[in-house]
Amino acid sequence: MIRALWTAASGMQAQQLNIDVVANNLANSSTTGFKKSRADFQDLMYQTEKTTGAPATNTTTIPTGIQVGLGVRPGSVSKIFTTGTIVHTGNELDVAIEGDGFIQVQQSDGTTAYTRAGSLKKDGQGRVVTSDGQPIVPEIVIPSNATSINIGNDGTVSVQQAGQTAATTVGTIQLASFTNPAGLNAIGKNLFLPTDSSGNATTGTAGQNGLGTLDQGYIEQSNVSVMEEMVSMIVSQRAYEINSKAIQASDDMLQQAAALKR
């Protein structure tokens, strides 16, 4: 009975983590380029009271043993990289990646981070930067006399300068991809860092080698489906509830056992 108490408690704890993950997904349901997370659980070890196949008599064996599970534990929380809805914004520095790939971002410590939040900006020096002011890699500088910016499907950035008829190419937005994006380490601010599990980044031109194409004037919304998260929340809440009922039942039984002694 004490065993059941702890088993059910582990179930409640697991559902609490599940709700934490769902809550974060819902909190970011309007975050550009956000990728939802999902918690995976695993059953805990089993207490074997009677081994299957052990001899019962000289000639017979026990067909099925007795194994009692001891609950559940979180196995992993992984990111889910389905594409979010792509919406039109009309901003010339908004780019959405249609398909696989990440935009490379230079962090202040010099390392490269990866993002799908393509709401790019121009900083004081004309560099193309993220909303946080981190320049993209390779660096692209928009000349101060540029009247319009054009980003092609393959990431080529060209500008129309005042007094000139032809467009000038100023750089190319390169994309990076990973063998296992689910293994990326999310560090907040829509940024991801590679890990052993994700593999190293492979960079390339948008639209080639399985990389997605770039859409200027669009941004990718979060891939959180509010409906789906609500359902997960209900499922999780009920699972929490039924685990609490198992605790209640254990407690009732303990009470009855205690009441046997007058």
Binding site: M1, R3, A4, L5, T7, A8, S10, G11, A14, N18, R38, D40, F41, Q42, D43, M45, Y46, T51, T52, G53, P63, T64, G65, I66, Q67, V68, G69, L70, G71, V72, G75, S76, I80, F81, S177, T179, N180, A182, G183, D196, S197, S198, G199, T202, G204, N209, G210, V235, A239, I242, N243, K245, A246, A249, S250, D252, M253, Q256, A257, L260
Partner: protein, 243 residues
Amino acid sequence: MNSGMYAALTGNLSAQRRLDVVSNNLANANTTGFKADRIQFESVLANVKNSTDGPIFSNDRYSTDFSSGSLQQTGNALDVALEGDGFFVVNTPQGTAYTRQGSFHRSATGRLVTADGYEVQGAGGPITVNGGKVQIGDDGTVSVQQPGQTTADTVGTIATVDFPKPYAMEKLGNGLFRPSDPQAATVASTAGVKQGYLETSNVKAVVEMSRLIEASRYFEICAKAVKTYDDMNNRAANDLGKV
């Protein structure tokens, strides 16, 4: 008189065990690839019926329900679910184990591993996924499209096996199973491999809740029986002497 008391007591113990099993099922209601355990009710009654005097020890029958859970779409390239009977084969330090938990990952060396880092066995050894996009076919064929190439290279096939039925599987925790007889012959699995999906737990909350109530009530009844026997003993010891 005392034999009945022990019978009632074993009933209590059995209810307690049943609660343990139900609790574990409920705790794993959201565990990927989890298979619910069952404990049979009638065996205890049958035992009581066949008993003569003396203590009766319950002989509960355990089994695991291997019915499939529903498939949930995740969209992750390394999430795979089995459609139909069978198991993935996993190398653990303790030997080969089997699982239906297909939330695979990539190790530092590029190997396809479980959440615990155990290598997933392919038809010809472990599978290495390096490079670009990973595709897993219905038959378990894993192919990777290398950067700079238009076609995908096959890097291995995820092995799936099944066991002759009825087989008793021992649960190792962490979603792993092992046949109780290590020599149990494996047979070809008929399961289809579905990329981007995970199999949910096959625990049915309503069924488990009924079992929880059943176990609670059963415990209550048995506790009442113990108490009744105690009352009778009490009267025998204290009241009879007064006559």
